[in-house]
């Protein structure tokens, strides 16, 4: 129950302030929490996003590696997980037996569950009385620890997630004891609830974050007097639904029947690649471009963006697959409406200009407004009269290619400094017929000469590209340097790409087997 407004909250506070507080009721209830069902494509992508911060694309790439086979040393090569594009939660009998055996041996008989989780399986999974299977380890006996040495860091993390979830799905429910305490004060009742795990069950392999609002309660008895510390009137807002993350968008798509296991990851990938949406603190925001496209489609092609219509289409495709509906009929049926729609839109659809935000300045070349636009390398400020006027702010003091004064070691043409996605680099002015690019490391052969000639342009002060470690490469003798990679700093030879040496990781620092990368 909640109070209507600040005045009501204030009235309660005033009424109980200074009055005695006493426990009026204690109620204990036993409850159970059921283990989750095994993973399918959509839930794998959601869990990997929440727990590992993997994008759906990355999840599927790593899952595919685990499915297609990993070399396990003496044991040979084998696939570590079942097929990763599935919407079935079925598990083969042998796999169930194996899991039960493992749980009994490792945790004891009370931890063996019936595997009949009550959670409603996805709609598609119910219909699928087929040979498909959930995503699970191919052998429960291959624990994450046992195979860690043969996996990359990503593979190891994803395998552990899949392995734990599957084992948990065959374990017994957790048992909880929930206590509710009512506290009377004046004419008001306050309530406390607390939950204690009395038997951990599946939680033993799948620890879950405790609900911070449900802490363990001290043993309180009816009639016991309590002292008021203070009253805190709280305001809380009705929150609109938050923006989607990649994970919640996939859940929404699955619930509404949009897309299938094979399409979730590529779909999210394409709307990001097209710059229709962008991520901000992992939330998906539509760009002005995305909104313009969406509005155009909503007004001109309502069926194409209609959720029910698209879900129905997926079902028709499923019907071709299972019931043998003729595919040409399904396509024709759909195309008749689509073709008419196309014709109508060709005539009616207004030309839309994607609103470009004004930069609040006039173009120094033609006097028109400057606007903020989005290009391949991010946002830039350019003239609103493009393409008549091609002015771009900041470009005049940063010429596209500045000669370094050195000749190209491959073709003899002058070397120039160019702007790349990762900052300036030295390349041949003969590009694209000559593709020479100088190594970016200061102090490594010809790269040193090239960057020396370019001054600060090549070595950006805010991001040192390579820092000497003081050690020499055991393969070629050049100095080892510390560089910044996509996954953090790493040490490698300054002779790269001529020398590909990377020192093995310190044992224990990461489970990744260095041999896989070095080879």
């Amino acid at each position: 129950m909640e109070l209507a407004d600040a005045a009501a909250a204030g009235a309660v506070t005033a009424a109980v302030e200074g009055r005695p507080f006493a426990v009026s009721a204690v109620e204990r209830k036993a409850s159970r929490r059921n283990p989750p069902v095994p993973l399918i494509t959509s839930t794998l992508q959601q869990e990997a996003s929440a727990q590992l911060r993997f994008s759906p694309k990355r999840t599927m790439r790593v899952a595919q590696q685990l499915y297609e086979g990993v070399e396990l040393g003496a044991e040979g090569a084998t696939g570590l997980i079942t097929y990763m594009r599935t919407d079935s939660i079925r598990v083969s009998e042998q796999a169930v037996e194996q899991a039960v055996e493992y749980i009994r041996a490792t945790h004891g008989a009370p931890y063996v569950g019936s595997g009949t989780a009550t959670r409603r399986p996805a709609k598609a999974a119910v219909a699928a009385q087929d040979a498909h299977e959930a995503i699970r380890p191919t052998s429960v006996g291959r624990t994450p620890e046992a195979v860690a040495a043969h996996l990359t860091a990503d593979q190891q993390r994803l395998y552990e997630l899949i392995w734990r979830r599957f084992v948990a799905s065959r374990m017994s429910p957790a048992r909880l004891s929930t206590t509710r305490v009512d506290i009377d004060a004046s004419d008001h009742v306050f309530r406390l609830t607390g939950t204690v795990v009395t038997f951990d069950g599946f939680l033993r392999v799948l620890p879950q974050r405790a609900d911070p609002r449900d802490p363990e309660l001290p043993a309180l008895q009816v009639g016991e007097a309590l002292t008021l510390v203070r009253t805190v009137p709280e305001q809380h807002f009705t929150q609109p639904p938050p923006r989607y993350t990649e994970a919640t968008l996939i859940r929404e798509m699955e619930e509404r029947g949009i897309g299938r296991p094979s399409t979730y990851a590529p779909t999210i990938d394409v709307i990001e690649a097209r710059q229709y949406v962008r991520q901000e603190e992992r939330r998906l925001h539509p760009t002005p471009l995305g909104q313009a496209v969406n509005e155009a489609l909503q007004s001109q092609f309502p069926e194409i963006v209609d959720i029910g219509f698209t879900a129905q289409m997926e079902e028709r495709l499923d019907a071709i697959e299972t019931g043998g509906t003729a595919w040409v009929g399904v396509v024709r049926n759909w195309f008749t409406g689509f073709a008419a729609n196309l014709e109508r839109a060709e005539a009616d659809m207004p030309r839309v200009r994607v609103a470009a935000a004004s930069a609040g300045e006039a173009c120094p070349q033609c006097g028109a407004d400057l606007v903020v636009r989005t290009g391949r390398f991010g946002e830039f400020i350019g003239c609103s009269r493009y393409p008549e006027c091609t002015y771009i702010k900041g470009r005049e003091d940063r010429p596209r290619a500045q000669p370094t004064g050195d000749p190209c070691p491959q073709c003899g043409k002058p070397l120039v400094v160019r702007q790349g996605r990762r900052g300036p680099f030295v390349g041949c002015s003969g590009y694209p017929s000559c593709r020479h690019i100088a190594p970016s490391t200061p102090g490594s052969g010809d790269g040193a000469a090239a960057s020396a000639g370019t001054g600060e342009a090549a070595a950006r002060p805010d991001r040192p590209t390579a820092e000497p470690t003081g050690e020499a490469c055991p393969d070629c003798g050049k100095p080892l340097v510390r560089r910044m990679g996509r996954f953090g700093p790493f040490v490698s030879c300054s002779g790269y790409p001529g020398c590909k040496y990377r020192p093995p990781r310190v044992a224990g620092a990461s489970p990744r087997a260095p041999a896989r990368r070095a080879g």
């Binding site: 129950m1 004060a185 009137p233 305001q235 779909t267 709307i271 495709l317 196309l342 030309r351």
Partner: protein, 230 residues
């Protein structure tokens, strides 16, 4: 002596794993995904002739087709082992056509393990045309949406845009969340009051270990307890 059985999968790493199980009687080759697809440069669908797709060998895959044909000529038995779904079935079907196989044998397994593959080898089946047709319908509809709708967006909004059957609905979902009203600054509904039950009260009970206990906040629940029971 050449292997008498040829197994074709879509991916080289899957081929590597399979080769290790199957021994020298089997040669395992990868198709590297689809061998044929609709052409990139044009619609590739004859709308007036039952939407007949004009499949062509994907640019750059010609050598792969030649290599598979050569291996197929030497083999006595050819098994198509692409992934167990619509897409995999279509890949197997296209391979069968490119290799002119009369009675293509398809095997399916959900895990690339010795036991699963051996079981699959004992149960070869013909290609499932229903699965293939579902893939064809999806491919054709996606192509028609993409190739008919996108040019319209280029003319009316901006070059290089794209629309897609699933993609555009996903975009819509994201945009729909924007149309929401900003959080309102109201007290309704649901202010609550907290009272803190402090350690001193509990400390009075000798049985409980008082140390380390902290105050808890109880939420306001209701005005005046209703009398319970008779």
């Amino acid at each position: 002596m050449a292997a008498s059985n040829l197994v074709i999968v879509e991916s080289p790493s899957k081929a590597r794993t399979l080769a290790k199980f199957l021994g020298s009687d089997y040669e395992v080759k990868a198709s590297l995904g689809h061998l044929v697809d609709l052409p990139k440069s044009k619609l590739g669908i004859d709308v007036d002739r039952d939407f007949a797709p004009d499949y062509i060998v994907i640019k750059g895959k010609e050598a792969q087709v030649r290599e598979l044909r050569q291996a197929a000529r030497k083999a006595q038995r050819i098994l198509l082992a692409a992934d167990p779904d619509r897409e995999g079935e279509a890949i197997a079907w296209h391979i069968a056509q490119q290799l002119h196989l009369k009675d293509p044998e398809r095997i399916v397994f959900h895990e690339v393990t010795r036991l699963a593959v051996e079981a699959a080898l004992r149960e070869p089946r013909p290609i499932d045309q229903h699965l293939v047709d579902a893939q064809q319908a999806r491919r054709v509809i996606d192509r028609l949406v993409g190739y008919k709708l996108s040019p319209l967006l280029w003319r009316k909004i901006r070059k290089g845009l794209s629309a897609g059957r699933v993609q555009s609905v996903a975009l819509r979902l994201v945009c729909d969340r924007e149309g929401r009203s900003p959080p309102s600054c109201r007290w309704s509904p649901g202010a609550w009051t907290r009272c803190w039950a402090p350690p001193p009260a509990w400390r009075s009970r000798p049985a409980s270990s008082a140390a380390g206990r902290t105050a808890r906040s109880a939420r306001w629940s209701s005005p005046t307890r209703r009398p319970r029971g008779p």
